[in-house]
C-alpha cells in the first residue's frame, strides 16, 4: 500500500470547503497592490483593486460597452462642450458614512490639478481638466482644457473623498488613505503586509453578493493552481499559459477570459548607429521566427487551434477596430531576405558574425523581468534566434522600477532591444508610445523614436471627431509602423483567470476586472 498525496490534498480541500462560509472569496493576485490610492497606481494589480473600492465617474459597461455611471444621475455639456455639468445620484455614501457630494468631485479634480500632488496619473489628467466648480451640493461643473469629442470617456477617473484628506488637495502617496481607502465602491478595502481584505459595504448603488474578499500574493504559479484545486483559494487572476491545461482538466474549475488587449513587442533602439537604417530593423523583423518563439516560450504548437497567442503586425490586437488587416504578419523567419537587407544596409558578415564598420555587433537585449512568468524563456529564445543569424548578444532582465524609471522615460539607451508588453482598456490610445518626445507628448516612447509622418498621423487621431476618422488615422499608422519598425510586433497573448465553478455570475470587465462585482455570487 502506498500513500496518495492527491487523496490527502482532496480531503484537506473538502475540509476547507466545508469550513468556508457562504459569501467569502479568496484569490491570488500577481502581487500585492502597491497602493490603494488610485492617483498613485503603478501596476495592473493597483488598477484592479481600486475598482473594488472606488467608483469611477463614468465607465464602460462590460456587457454592452456603453458609458454609464453609478454615481451620476444626469449630465449636460456647457460652454460648447468645454464643460460638463454633473448631477449626482442622491443617497450615495462613502464607506465611512459621509454623503458623496459635488465637493468631492471638485476635490478630485483639484487634487489632480494641484502641482503638489506628485502623481504621474494626475499629471496626465492636467492636460484634460481645467477646473471644477460646485454649483449645488449635488451638482458639479467640470471644466476641460479643450472640447473633447468623447467627454464622458475623459471622466473615467476615481472619485476621492474630500473629508478623508482634510480638504488638502496636495495628496501624498504615504497618506493613510493609501492603506485604508474610503470609497463609494462595493467593497471597503484594507491593505496588510501579506494581503488585502475587502468587506462588503451596502450602498444605494452597490449591493455586492460577496461579503468578504481576500487578496493574496500568488508566487509559484504551480502552487497557485494546486491551491485552487484544493479549494484553498477560489480564484487566480492570471494563469500563465503553461499552467492552463491543468486548470482545464479539473471539472470544478473554469478558465475565464480577461480582455486586457495586451500585445507584446521588441522595441528597437534606432539611436544605435547600426539600427538607424530601416533596412536593418526590417531584417531583424525577418530574422525573428515568431512561430518558433511562440512554441518554445508559450508552448503553442504550429497550427494549433484556439491558440492563446495571436500574431500581430502592428500596435493593436487583431480584434481591435484600429488593427489594419491589410498588413501581413511575419509568422516565419526569412533569413535569406533578411541577409539581403543587412548587406544592403552596409553590414558585413565575417566568420558568421555580423559587423558594422568592421566592429562585430553585440546586441544587448533587455526584458521586463516579471514577463518571464507569462512567457518563460522568451528573452533567451529571442537571443538564440539573433545569435543563430549571426549577432552576438547579451541578455538582461529589467526590474519593474528600472522599467518605469528608465525604459518608459526614454533613458534606456544602453539596450539595443527591449522586450515588453502593453495593456489597454477600451481606449487603445497608442499616441504616447510613438509620438516624438516633446511638449509632454510621447511620454512612453521607449527609445525616443521620431518620425514626422507618424507624428502627423497621431495628431490626426488626436483631433478625430468620429470613430471613423480615428480608425483611418490608426490604420495608416499601423501600416507605416510596420514599415518603420520602431517595434518588432510579436503577438497578443490572452490573459486568463481561473475561478472555481461555485463562483457564479463572475463577469470580468476588460482591463478593470471588478467593475461589475456586485453581481458576483458564490455557493451552490
Amino acid at each position: 500500500m502506498h500513500s496518495n498525496p492527491h487523496r490527502l490534498l482532496s480531503v484537506l480541500g473538502l475540509a476547507a470547503a466545508a469550513l468556508t462560509t457562504g459569501a467569502s472569496l479568496a484569490f491570488f493576485e500577481e502581487s500585492l497592490p502597491s497602493t490603494m490610492n488610485p492617483l498613485f497606481a503603478q501596476s495592473m494589480v493597483d488598477n484592479r483593486v481600486h475598482e473594488l473600492v472606488m467608483d469611477r465617474i463614468y465607465f464602460n459597461d462590460p456587457i454592452n460597452n456603453e458609458l454609464v455611471s453609478n454615481i451620476v444621475q444626469e449630465w449636460s455639456l456647457l460652454d460648447s462642450g468645454k464643460s460638463i455639468r454633473l448631477v449626482l445620484r442622491k443617497g450615495v455614501k462613502w464607506q465611512d458614512g459621509e454623503v458623496l457630494g459635488a465637493d468631492d468631485i471638485c476635490f478630485t479634480v483639484k487634487a489632480m490639478l494641484d502641482p503638489g500632488t506628485p502623481s504621474p496619473i494626475a499629471e496626465k489628467q492636467r492636460a484634460i481638466f481645467a477646473g471644477c466648480t460646485v454649483e449645488k451640493p449635488d451638482v458639479a461643473v467640470v471644466q476641460f482644457t479643450k472640447v473633447f469629442h468623447n467627454p464622458l470617456n475623459r471622466l473615467s477617473v476615481h472619485v476621492l473623498p474630500e473629508h478623508a484628506f482634510g480638504g488638502k488637495t496636495a495628496i501624498q502617496p504615504d497618506h493613510e488613505f493609501s492603506l485604508r481607502p474610503v470609497g463609494t465602491g462595493p467593497m471597503k478595502g484594507s491593505s496588510g503586509r501579506r494581503g488585502t481584505t475587502f468587506e462588503k459595504y451596502k450602498n444605494v448603488h452597490h449591493d455586492a453578493g460577496i461579503d468578504t474578499l481576500s487578496l493574496q500574493e500568488g508566487n509559484d504559479p504551480l502552487v497557485q493552481v494546486k491551491t485552487l484545486i484544493n479549494n484553498g483559494v477560489q480564484g487566480i487572476i492570471t494563469v500563465p499559459p503553461g499552467n492552463r491545461a491543468e486548470v482545464s482538466a479539473q471539472d470544478d474549475l473554469a478558465l475565464k477570459s480577461y480582455d486586457l488587449r495586451s500585445w507584446w513587442f521588441v522595441a528597437v533602439n534606432q539611436e544605435k548607429p547600426y539600427l538607424k537604417d530601416k533596412r536593418v530593423r526590417q531584417a531583424l523583423d525577418l530574422i525573428v521566427d515568431r512561430t518558433d518563439l511562440r512554441q518554445l516560450s508559450i508552448g503553442v504548437k504550429p497550427g494549433e487551434q484556439n491558440s492563446p497567442c495571436e500574431f500581430i503586425s502592428g500596435p493593436f490586437v487583431q480584434s481591435s477596430p484600429f488593427y489594419n488587416r491589410t498588413v501581413a504578419v511575419n509568422a516565419r523567419a526569412d533569413k535569406a531576405k533578411a541577409f539581403e537587407l543587412l548587406n544592403a544596409a552596409g553590414l558585413k558578415q565575417e566568420g558568421g558574425r555580423w559587423h558594422f564598420k568592421n566592429e562585430p555587433i553585440t546586441m544587448r537585449i533587455g526584458m521586463k523581468a516579471p514577463l518571464d512568468i507569462e512567457a518563460p524563456d522568451l528573452l533567451s529564445q529571442v537571443g538564440n534566434q539573433l545569435s543563430a543569424a549571426g549577432f552576438d548578444r547579451q541578455e538582461f532582465k529589467i526590474t519593474t522600477d528600472d522599467w518605469n524609471l528608465k525604459v518608459l522615460t526614454g533613458q534606456a539607451s544602453e539596450y539595443d532591444l527591449v522586450i515588453g508588453k502593453w495593456s489597454f482598456g477600451l481606449v487603445e490610445d497608442v499616441n504616447p508610445l510613438f509620438h516624438s518626445r516633446k511638449d509632454g507628448r510621447g511620454a512612453f516612447n521607449v527609445f525616443n523614436f521620431t518620425n514626422p509622418q507618424i507624428d502627423t498621423l497621431l495628431a490626426q487621431y488626436e483631433v478625430a471627431r468620429t470613430d471613423t476618422q480615428a480608425q483611418d488615422a490608426y490604420h495608416k499608422l499601423h501600416a507605416l509602423l510596420a514599415q518603420e519598425l520602431p517595434y518588432l510586433f510579436l503577438w497578443k497573448l490572452d490573459t486568463k483567470s481561473a475561478w472555481r465553478t461555485e463562483v457564479r455570475s463572475n463577469t470580468i470587465t476588460p482591463y478593470y476586472y471588478w467593475t461589475v462585482f456586485d453581481k458576483w455570487r458564490t455557493g451552490a
Binding site: R194, N230, L405, A443
Partner: protein
C-alpha cells in the same frame, strides 16, 4: 599584553554603539543605490512633484540630513510611514510585529544547535552523529523553506496567514534555519573540535590525575571560544532568517529589511536595521558577561587547604 577585561569591555562599548552605528552604516549603503524612491513614484520626466516629494521625505539634502532627521523623529517615537513597501503604513507597528517573530524564529532554530553543542561538548552526542547532521544540513535553507512554503500554501490556502499557519511557518522555518546550510553540523563539529583539542592539553591530564572532572577543567578555558562560536552562529541564523522569512512570508525583521531594501523604503530599512542592531547588541552583552564571569572564575584564588 592585553588585560583580561579589555575584550569584554570593547564588546560592551560596541553593544552600546550598535543601535546607532548599524542604522547609520545601512543608511549610507542604501543611499548609494542607484535611483531614488521619490523619482520612482514620480519620475521627473512625466511628473512635476519629484522635488517636493523628496523634500517631504528628507531625501533632498544627503544621507546625514536624512539620518539625523530620522533619528530625531525616532527618539520621539515617530518612525514615520512606509513610502513604498506598504505605502502609507506606520513603520512602528510593523517593527513591533516583526521583532518577536524574528526573535522566536532564531530562538527556536537555536535550540537544536544549543542541544547539539552541549551534546558535543559533553560527548553525549557521538561523533558518528556528525555524518548524519551533515546530511541533514545538506540542502540549502532556501530549498527547505521553499518546500515548506509550498506545503503550507497548498494546505492552508487563504488561511496561510492565520494563527495556526503562522505557528507552523515558525516551526518549519526554525527547522530549516537550524538544520540547513550545515548550521547545526557546523556548530557541533566546531565545538567538538575545540573541546577535543582542549582535552588533549597537559593541564587536563593533570586535573584527571588529581581526580577532577574533564569538563571542570576544560570548560572554563574553552567557554569564551564556545560563546564566541555560538554568537557567530546566532548572527548567522539572524542573517539566514532573512531568506527563511522572505520565502515563508513570515512577518519578521529580515523580511522587512529585504522588502525595504528592494523598494528603497529607507524609513523601513533603518527601522529594521535598528531592530537587528538591538538583537545583536543583546548578544554582545551576553557574550561580554559570560567572558567576565569566566575570567573572574578562573582568577579566583584557590582556597587554602588546612594542613
Amino acid at each position: 599584553m592585553q588585560r583580561w577585561y579589555v575584550r569584554p569591555l570593547v564588546r560592551l562599548i560596541a553593544a552600546l554603539l550598535l543601535p546607532a552605528a548599524v542604522p547609520a552604516v545601512i543608511t549610507a549603503l542604501i543611499w548609494a543605490l542607484p535611483g531614488d524612491p521619490a523619482a520612482i513614484i514620480c519620475p521627473p520626466e512625466v511628473c512635476s512633484g519629484t522635488e517636493e516629494l523628496a523634500k517631504r521625505w528628507n531625501l533632498n539634502d544627503g544621507p546625514v540630513h536624512f539620518f539625523t532627521k530620522w533619528t530625531g523623529d525616532a527618539l520621539s517615537g515617530d518612525f514615520g510611514r512606509s513610502w513604498r513597501l506598504q505605502q502609507g503604513a506606520p513603520v512602528a507597528p510593523m517593527l513591533i510585529e516583526s521583532i518577536p517573530n524574528t526573535a522566536l524564529l532564531v530562538l527556536f532554530s537555536f535550540v537544536p544547535i544549543l542541544l547539539g553543542v552541549i551534546g558535543a561538548a559533553t560527548r553525549v552526542l557521538p561523533r558518528a552523529a556528525d555524518g548524519l547532521l551533515r546530511v541533514l544540513g545538506l540542502p540549502p535553507s532556501v530549498i527547505f523553506a521553499l518546500a515548506a512554503s509550498a506545503v503550507i500554501t497548498i494546505k492552508y490556502g487563504s488561511a496561510a496567514f492565520g494563527d495556526e499557519a503562522e505557528r507552523v511557518k515558525l516551526v518549519l522555518g526554525a527547522l530549516a534555519l537550524g538544520l540547513a546550510d550545515a548550521a547545526m553540523a557546523g556548530a557541533v563539529s566546531g565545538v567538538r573540535g575545540l573541546m577535543e583539542s582542549e582535552r588533549k592539553q597537559r593541564y587536563v591530564r593533570f586535573g584527571i590525575l588529581r581526580g577532577e572532572g574533564v569538563l571542570q577543567n576544560t570548560l572554563p578555558n574553552a567557554l569564551p571560544a564556545i560563546i564566541g562560536q555560538l554568537r557567530a552562529r546566532v548572527l548567522h541564523l539572524l542573517s539566514g532568517a532573512v531568506i527563511v522569512e522572505v520565502v515563508l512570508q513570515i512577518n519578521g525583521l529580515g523580511d522587512l529589511l529585504w522588502g525595504g531594501t528592494l523598494y528603497q523604503d529607507f524609513g523601513v530599512v533603518i527601522a529594521a536595521a535598528f531592530g537587528f542592531a538591538v538583537i545583536s547588541a543583546a548578544l554582545l552583552i551576553t557574550q561580554a558577561l559570560v567572558e567576565i564571569g569566566v575570567a573572574l572564575h578562573v582568577r579566583r584564588a584557590p582556597k587554602a587547604v588546612a594542613s
